[in-house]
Subunit: 362 residues, 2 copies
């Protein structure tokens, strides 16, 4: 019997917060952001290989990155790399991949995951995902992996817990999904112990998510459902190009999870970061005695420099003196010197760069 | 009749204060430090072409830079590029070039000049040098070009003036040469109006400087004089290699000018900087409205950044935010981020780099 557990790795983002290391030509998920010798995508793929056969792992990305995916994951078959002609957020992406899975397997259970997050303790991760797959395979539920908050972070969405599941008390019913809160609210959320961070990792049966999509997002669902016989055939490509141009741009969180009634969460036993900011990368990286994170080159010398993240290309010499709380990132093509506490401005900067120097520079 | 005015351009320095733009592979004089489209050496050569025939301009440099000189000055004949096997400061350099000139012309007048200074107002420069050549050709004197100080700079040597010359009151007898003074002394020098900066540009007849060398630096003079028949012959190369290894390392200022009695100075009518520091380069460069000097690339964007010197390679994008009074120099191979007021430390840093990463990196 075929293994019916599938994984959808979403790898279409452009990671503009990490400019200039992450650019639209080589976004964050394709980069070894932590100096581990593997890109975030490769780390994600390796984690799921411990849970399901490689053939059951699909990667959804942009047309532009297909070769990058195949280069980084040489054992992945080209037909397992689904490409989107334009970015339409997670709901269309998940709907597309789900129909592909259903064209292959009748009763599939599916894990949906971002490709650019950091997970520490793979054993706990594997165990949690397996537990979750067991839970969703037997029930008409949607499951999200929640993370116990360690600080009142305003960069994450929060999940409010409701009562525990009758059948398995490791799972809680979800009361509400909350968008990124302000600082005061985040503090309240964390202190109440009633909230978890939303990791963006979802589990469900293919059938249940289709059901939820058709209920809560019929305008997206119907578009894809119209071509249900085309997935896995030569007609898929043309159909997808057409459907994406017509589809709404909407997230699965907003379009489905916030509306569905049968949502559960499993509180993760592993450590997690979405590596969404240079600060989170800094926090998850090894620091020198003077609290600097230095990556890329071995030839970086600092003097009177503290709490900086310094990245320069391999072998480049860098001398950094009298700097504190700065992001100093040299990608070879571009140099960024920016205060940590202002890093929310980087996205705007990248937009300016696109306007001024063209898409491929940012 | 042959034109008897000669020029010796000294181009053997390594410009370590300007690391990482200036490296031992491509020192400062070979670089377009000011973004004028010509290297400092090319600018120096062009100035002297207005005063004497190109064949009378000799460039003294290290073996290592001979091809660089010929590349940058394609009209210079290889025999006019004299190369030193090791650096021995200016006295041996001048002695060597002087014997070469004497092997070509019996009665030569000679201008000796650094290759890496900035001179504004070439017309005044040409006029001053011609006036100086006229003065030294008729008299048993050594002449140095003095610069009226515009600030109490502690980075320059000072010349104390004595009475004006009887024959031409544009010239003053020199009372003393002073090494770089401390701040208090420099202030006193400038306020007294009795002192000029020593530009390092010297004029004399070939005969008079030989006489002065033989009197004040016989240990150097005798070494070179021993081979007086070898200059301009096939034997020159071997002879020079031998002599340099035996010669003292000593400057013409310390070895001759400070001791000679017949030294005069002509106060320059042109503006001058030795471009000896990033600060002096900053001061001599065009500033943006926010008082930054930005060179190298057109693609540098600054925010809340003032009084910085920013250099990145052509076309490189740089975003620099919240910086004040910093030198930010990216040579491609190396990145330096350093406070202006600590720039005297750069020489030490370069020595550290040589020790740690090898000579060719610094």
């Amino acid at each position: 019997m075929k293994n019916s557990n599938y994984c959808i790795i979403m790898a279409g983002g452009i990671g503009s917060r990490f400019w200039p290391v992450s650019t639209s030509n080589t976004p964050k998920q394709f980069i070894d952001m932590l100096g581990l010798g593997k890109s975030l995508l490769q780390l994600t793929y390796d984690r799921f290989k411990k849970i399901m056969p490689p053939d059951n792992i699909l990667i959804v990305t942009s047309d532009k990155y297909k070769n990058l995916v195949l280069d980084q994951l040489p054992e992945v078959k080209p037909e397992n790399v689904l490409t989107e002609p334009i970015r339409r957020n997670t709901a269309p992406c998940i709907s597309y991949a789900n129909f592909v899975i259903q064209s292959r397997t009748k009763n599939a259970n599916v894990v949906v995951t971002p490709s650019d997050h950091l997970i520490i303790d793979e054993e706990a991760f594997v165990s949690n995902i397996k537990t979750g797959l067991g839970f969703v395979s037997a029930r008409d539920v949607l499951l999200t992996i929640g993370i116990k908050p360690t600080r009142p972070d305003t960069g994450y969405g929060y999940i409010q817990l409701n009562e525990k599941s009758d059948v398995d008390e490791r799972f809680n019913k979800v009361k509400t999904f909350t968008e990124k809160p302000n600082a005061e609210l985040a503090k309240f959320f964390v202190e109440s112990e009633e909230f978890l961070w939303n990791s963006g990792i979802f589990l469900w049966s293919a059938e249940n998510i289709q059901e939820a999509l058709s209920t809560h997002l019929p305008e997206v669902y119907n578009l894809f459902a119209e071509g249900r016989n085309k997935f896995g055939t030569k007609e898929e490509r043309d159909f997808i190009n057409k459907v994406y141009s017509e589809s709404k741009n909407i997230s699965i969180d907003y379009g489905v999870m916030e509306k569905a009634k049968n949502v559960y969460t499993l509180c993760a036993d592993f450590s997690w970061s979405d590596l969404g900011t240079w600060k989170s990368l800094y926090e998850n990286s090894k620091k020198t005695t003077t609290k600097n994170v230095i990556t890329g080159s071995e030839n970086v010398i600092v003097n009177n420099t503290h709490d900086c993240l310094i990245h320069v290309p391999p072998d480049k010499i860098a001398i950094v003196n009298d700097m504190e709380n700065y992001i100093i990132v040299d990608s070879g093509d571009a140099l960024l010197i920016h205060r940590f506490e202002k890093e929310q401005e980087i996205k705007e900067i990248v937009n300016d760069i696109k306007r001024e120097f063209g898409e491929d520079k940012a």
